[in-house]
Each structure stands twice: as structure tokens, then as C-alpha cells.
């Protein structure tokens, strides 16, 4: 037990803070925990990892039901996720400082802790525990969106529990076959490999398994969506990188993931939903990189995790600030908000530029590593898909979000600038988006964090020119389409996606089965009733005192019957 607790897993600091928060009535106390706990976890990660000589720290050993668990593993890969999760926890805490909600505070702390615990898990059973805790803690954040988010929360919970069940089933099959539950490379050839991949795929938002993201994230509260956008999907990317690096099918899955959300994002009117599709699209880049599996690609994935969390949080925070002040994030209702919220506009533009991978902005130094790795391995089709998706990213996150919220036509809405805490949180994220892309000593800091040594240089003349050509071509297209009225107007609507299959088709089928079952039940009851009544009547007709058997019969018939029976017996005896 003491060995399990020493050293203490940094995840438990956050989970413990979450439990304390649940019993803290004073909101200032809870806010202190929200800020202090991620900092304490960060300090602890460093103290553990740099307090020993090896490149991989294994601790928190525990024997459970005959299985040896390693609940804490810190190495160069998990360290990247650990750092950015702590930073995101801090930024989220700062962003939600004005909100006096015990449930959000508590759930956010436990959720952040579960994320940390999952990336530091050294075995599949520990991973499963934190995997489920991620789902259970985050669903309360979804439900903070109010009554309208209840159904989405239930769907969210169902699909994440399913993911957990698949993970556990896969882990047991795998562990029994290998005789070891350590969480290292799994691959598809191992028993349980496909099940575990499916479990990871659900959380990573693989195509056709992605709808929980767009269904639940935009329905949460102002702060809730920002918190949700960070952990679950990024834990899944970590798990894929740890277990399935170099699995070729992921290259194509990633390619599809980058492309299809682009078409949905352009249709959406809800800007937080647009960003949710954008989240899917960015995950696609990472999944493709994991599929490639080279050192350059995996470094690209790790770098992109860091900057994606920053710029995606920044974009979600800016839309959260708009929702907080205006009360809506429908593109059709917004416009001209830069007049009221100039600082938020600036931060949103930095986030938009970063996700679009403009030089000097964060996405440029990370996404290019993945795209270069795909190119190096001669996957030209996927390379073309990633280029196409890059132009698509510029459309929905680079232009659509800031343009329709802050510029476009003036909606006439005049509101206050975002509260100071929101601006401070956005400011930190925006600064880091610029710092990690700075050519002289900025991106090098990011690259030093990566799992493998790298000599990749993003700022070469040909790379900058290529990227700017792509972006300028796309921007010119936007202005041209706008000028000629070919850019579709923003309209309020529900856009159908694959979730239609279970929210409408599946539900209709269940209702139909229910109706058929009810009618069938009624019919069966009627048939049974008729059968028993007819049988009763027949029996009565035969056996009752007034029945057929009570009637007098001529003795000749009995003689004929007995003679027939005797003949039959004789025949059988003769033949046998």
C-alpha cells in the first residue's frame, strides 16, 4: 500500500481536490483549488520524473486480483500530455473563475485528474479505470448546459461506457493471451487488438463514431465546453500513439477524419458546433501521424497535441465569451462584435491564425511535421487529403468563426468586453500560440519537449511559401465568393449527420418494434383466448354428459374396431 502511494500519482491531487471541492461551500475556496491543484500536479510530475535518473519512471505498483498494475508511468511521451493537461487545467480554472457552480468546479477537477491518470497509466486496467472516470466526471459538465443537454448527456454517457466496456474486454483478452497487462504497443494482430482500437476510436472521434463530440460539446455551459474540449479526445490520441503507432489503417482513418468535418462545419450555424467539427478535423491530422508512426510523425503528433489544446481552447474560450455576453453563438445572430469585444476578437484571430497554420502561429510548426511525415512515406493520396483539409480548416475555423462573430454585417449588438478572468485565460493561450511558433527560441522550446530528438526546421523558404500560397489561394477564394454572393448565408437549421441513424432512424425503429410488439401481444392474447375457448368447447362437446362419447353407439361398430386393431397387431407381429 505504501509503495502504491509513494510517490503519489499527480492525478490523485486533482481528484482529491475535486472531492474537497464537492464539500466546499465557499466558491472562492473551490476556485483556489481549481488554480492550485494543476500547479501542484505540475510540480509533482517534475519532482517525480526529474528526481530519478532513468528516462522512464515506473511507480505506484499494485497487485489487484492477481494482476500486477503499474499505476504511474512517466516518460518523455506521457510527460508532454501531462504538462499540457496541467496547463489546460489552470487555464480552464482561470476562465471559469466568475462561475459559481459547485458541480462544474468539482467535475472539472476530477475530469482533469482522470485525464492525467489515464496518460500516466502504465497498464491497461489502470487505463480503464481512468477511462471510465473521464466519462463519469465529464458527463456532469455536459449536463451543466441545462435541460436541453440532458438527452445529449445520456447519449454521451452511453457511448463512453460502451467504449470503456470494449476497452476492458479487449484488455482482458489481450492480457490473458500475453500474460501481461502493461500498456505498450498493442497492434491489430494481437488478441483483443481490434476491440481496444475500437474503444480508443470512439473517444478519438473516428468517422461514424464521432457524433458524440458535436452532439454534447456545444450543448454544455460557457465554461463546460472549454473544459470538455481538452481531455477526452487527447487521452484517446495518447492511447492510440502508445498502442497503435505505425498501424497503417490509421493513416486512412486520419485522412478521412480531416476531410469530412470540413463539409459539415461550413453548413453549421452554431459556432461552437463548427469548432467541434474542427476538433474532429484536427484529431484527424494526429491519427494520420500515428498511422505513419515514424519519429517525425510521432513528434508531430505530440507537438500538435500541445498547440491544438492551446488554439482550440482559445477559440472555444472566445466563443464562450461571446455566449456569456451576447447569449448566443449562432452565426446568423452575430456580427460586428469587434466593436464591443476588441480584445476577445484579437485573441480569437490569434486562435484562428494558429489553427490555420499561418507562419509565426502555432499550427505552422506542428501540423507541418505530420504532413511532411505523410509525404516522406509517399502516401500521396492522404497527403492531398491533408492539404485539402488545411484549406478547409481555414474556411471554418480560420475565417468563418471570427468573421461571422466579430465582423460580417453589424448585428447591432453592443455588449461589454469579456470579464477579466476570461481575457486573462485567453491571453495566456494566445501568448503561447505565438510563443511556440516564434522562430528564434520559441518553437525550439516546444520541440525540446517532444518524445524524440528532432532536427526538423519549419521555417524554410519553400515551406513558408508553400503554406502561404495555400492560405492566400483559399483566402482569395473566400473574398471572391463573398463578392459574387456565392458564399452561402448563415441560416438556422439542424444539420443531419450520422447521429441521425440512432437519434431518428434507430429511435423510429425502436418505436416501431415497440408498437409491433404491443400489437403482437394483443393478437397472441386474442389467439390464445380463441384457442382455449374452442378447445374447451370441443372437449365439452366430446366428454361432457351431453357429449359425443356419452351417446349410445351400435355394438357392430365396436366389433369392427376391435377386429381392425387385431389385424393391425397381427400384421406388425408378422412383419417384425
Amino acid at each position: 500500500m505504501i509503495e502504491f502511494l509513494t510517490p503519489l500519482n499527480p492525478a490523485f491531487i486533482l481528484i482529491l481536490a475535486g472531492i474537497i471541492s464537492a464539500f466546499t461551500p465557499i466558491y472562492q475556496g473551490r476556485k483556489f483549488l481549481l488554480i492550485a491543484a494543476p500547479i501542484a500536479a505540475f510540480v509533482m510530475i517534475n519532482a517525480i520524473f526529474y528526481g530519478q535518473d532513468t528516462s522512464e519512471f515506473l511507480g505506484g505498483r499494485l497487485s489487484f486480483a492477481g494482476i500486477d498494475l503499474i499505476t504511474l508511468r512517466i516518460d518523455q511521451t506521457s510527460l508532454v500530455w501531462g504538462y499540457i493537461f496541467c496547463l489546460a487545467g489552470l487555464i480552464n480554472g482561470l476562465f471559469g473563475l466568475h462561475e459559481k457552480c459547485k458541480i462544474t468546479d468539482t467535475a472539472a477537477l476530477i475530469y482533469t485528474g482522470a485525464g492525467l491518470g489515464a496518460v500516466f497509466a502504465g497498464d491497461l486496467i489502470t487505463l480503464f479505470m481512468f477511462w471510465e472516470l473521464l466519462a463519469l466526471s465529464s458527463v456532469f459538465i455536459v449536463w451543466r448546459g441545462g435541460e436541453k443537454s440532458y438527452a445529449a448527456g445520456m447519449r454521451y454517457l452511453a457511448i463512453h461506457i460502451l467504449s470503456g466496456v470494449l476497452l476492458l474486454a479487449g484488455a482482458i483478452i489481450y492480457g490473458r493471451a500475453v500474460g501481461d497487462y502493461s500498456f505498450n504497443h498493442i497492434g491489430l494482430d494481437m488478441p483483443g487488438g481490434w476491440l481496444i482500437l475500437l474503444a480508443f476510436g470512439i473517444k478519438a472521434g473516428f468517422p461514424l463514431l464521432h457524433n458524440w463530440i458535436q452532439d454534447s460539446y456545444p450543448k454544455s455551459s460557457v465554461t463546460g465546453t472549454v473544459i470538455l474540449s481538452v481531455f477526452t479526445t487527447k487521452v484517446a490520441i495518447y492511447a492510440l500513439m502508445r498502442g497503435y503507432a505505425g498501424t497503417e489503417i490509421l493513416i486512412y482513418i486520419g485522412g478521412v477524419m480531416t476531410v469530412f468535418p470540413v463539409f459539415f462545419a461550413v453548413l453549421e450555424n452554431d459556432l461552437r458546433k463548427v469548432l467541434s467539427y474542427s476538433l474532429n478535423n484536427q484529431l484527424g491530422f494526429m491519427v494520420a501521424g500515428i498511422g505513419i508512426g515514424s519519429q517525425l510523425a510521432l513528434n508531430g503528433v505530440a507537438a500538435h497535441i500541445v498547440v491544438d489544446i492551446l488554439f482550440k481552447s482559445l477559440l472555444f474560450m472566445s466563443m464562450g465569451a461571446v455566449l456569456h455576453r451576447v447569449g448566443t453563438v449562432k452565426a446568423s445572430e452575430l456580427g460586428g462584435l469587434f466593436k464591443s469585444m476588441p480584445i476577445t476578437t484579437l485573441f480569437c484571430l490569434i486562435g484562428a491564425g494558429s489553427i490555420s497554420a499561418f507562419p509565426m502561429m502555432a499550427g505552422f510548426v506542428s501540423k507541418s511535421m505530420i504532413i511532411a511525415a505523410v509525404f516522406e512515406e509517399h502516401h500521396y493520396v492522404v497527403f492531398a487529403m491533408l492539404l485539402f483539409a488545411s484549406a478547409g480548416v481555414l474556411e471554418h475555423s480560420g475565417i468563418k468563426v471570427p468573421y461571422f462573430a466579430f465582423f460580417s454585417h453589424d448585428s447591432g449588438k453592443r455588449v461589454k468586453e469579456a470579464p477579466w478572468n476570461m481575457l486573462a485565460a485567453m491571453g495566456i493561450a494566445a501568448f503561447l500560440c505565438l510563443y511556440f511558433a516564434f522562430p528564434w527560441g520559441g518553437y525550439q522550446v516546444l520541440y525540446n519537449l517532444l518524445p524524440f530528438e528532432t532536427d526538423y526546421h519549419p521555417y524554410t523558404g519553400d515551406h513558408v511559401v508553400l503554406q502561404m500560397q495555400l492560405l492566400m489561394g483559399a483566402m482569395f477564394s473566400f473574398t471572391l465568393l463573398k463578392r459574387f454572393g456565392l458564399y452561402p448565408p448563415e441560416r438556422r437549421a439542424q444539420i443531419l449527420d450520422f447521429d441521425w441513424t440512432y437519434r431518428r432512424l434507430g429511435l423510429s425503429f425502436v418505436k416501431w418494434v415497440n408498437a409491433v410488439w404491443a400489437r403482437l401481444g394483443l393478437l397472441m392474447t386474442l389467439m390464445f383466448k380463441r384457442f382455449f375457448s374452442q378447445t374447451g368447447r370441443r372437449l365439452y362437446q366430446v366428454f361432457s354428459p351431453a357429449g359425443a362419447l356419452s351417446e349410445d353407439a351400435p355394438s357392430g361398430i365396436a366389433a369392427v374396431l376391435i377386429a381392425g386393431m387385431l389385424s393391425a397387431v397381427l400384421l406388425i407381429v408378422y412383419l417384425v
Binding site: 463539409f263 461550413v266 452554431d270 461552437r272 458546433k273 449562432k330 466593436k339 476588441p342 511559401v465 443531419l496
Partner: protein, 107 residues
């Protein structure tokens, strides 16, 4: 624009300045009709500059489709246009009333 006095401003502009955040006032010209109309020249000039630069900075590892020095300008333009223009038929195909699922909208 910054030199405009209160006398030269229209009523609407004065109202705009009064209502706007102080940090936004120097940038109100961004919503000017002329600026919006002529903004097309910003990416157009950028496009020309970087297309020309493509002659000097050729990709170190060219892709099979790297036939022109401005290939990526065309890719960016075509990809973006395709995505946006595809939205017209897709909207007709996929758009339903907001309360289609009976759960209200997201706001």
C-alpha cells in the same frame, strides 16, 4: 480616417464611436463599406506575391503534382471553393428545422 473631426462624421459614425469599446475605435474603419468591398485585393496581392516567390523557393521534395511554382495557390483556391460551393446542395440535402429532434436548439 483618424484625422476626421466631429463635424465631418455622420450621425451613425458618432453613435458607433460612442458605443464602441475604446480599443475598437481606431479600427472602426474595418466595417467601412469601401474597405469591405476592396478587401479582396489583400489576398489577391498576397496570392501574386507568394506565387512569384514560388519561382524562387521551389519545394525541396516536390510532390507528383508540383508542376507549376504556384501549384499550392491553385490547390488552396480550388479546395476552398469546392468546400464552400458544396455547401449549397449539401444544405438542401441535410438541413432540417432546428427542433427536428425535439430537443430544442443548442443556445
Amino acid at each position: 480616417m483618424a484625422k476626421k473631426t466631429a463635424q465631418t462624421l455622420t450621425k451613425e459614425q458618432i453613435k458607433d464611436r460612442t458605443e464602441a469599446h475604446p480599443l475598437a475605435v481606431p479600427f472602426l474603419w474595418l466595417m467601412d463599406e469601401k474597405v469591405v468591398k476592396n478587401f479582396i485585393f489583400v489576398p489577391f496581392i498576397g496570392l501574386i506575391i507568394f506565387s512569384v516567390l514560388g519561382y524562387f523557393y521551389k519545394p525541396h521534395h516536390p510532390a507528383p503534382w508540383d508542376v507549376f511554382p504556384f501549384t499550392y495557390t491553385l490547390i488552396g483556391f480550388a479546395a476552398y471553393s469546392f468546400v464552400v460551393l458544396a455547401a449549397w446542395p449539401l444544405f438542401k440535402l441535410l438541413a432540417r428545422p432546428e427542433n427536428y429532434y425535439g430537443e430544442g436548439d443548442d443556445d
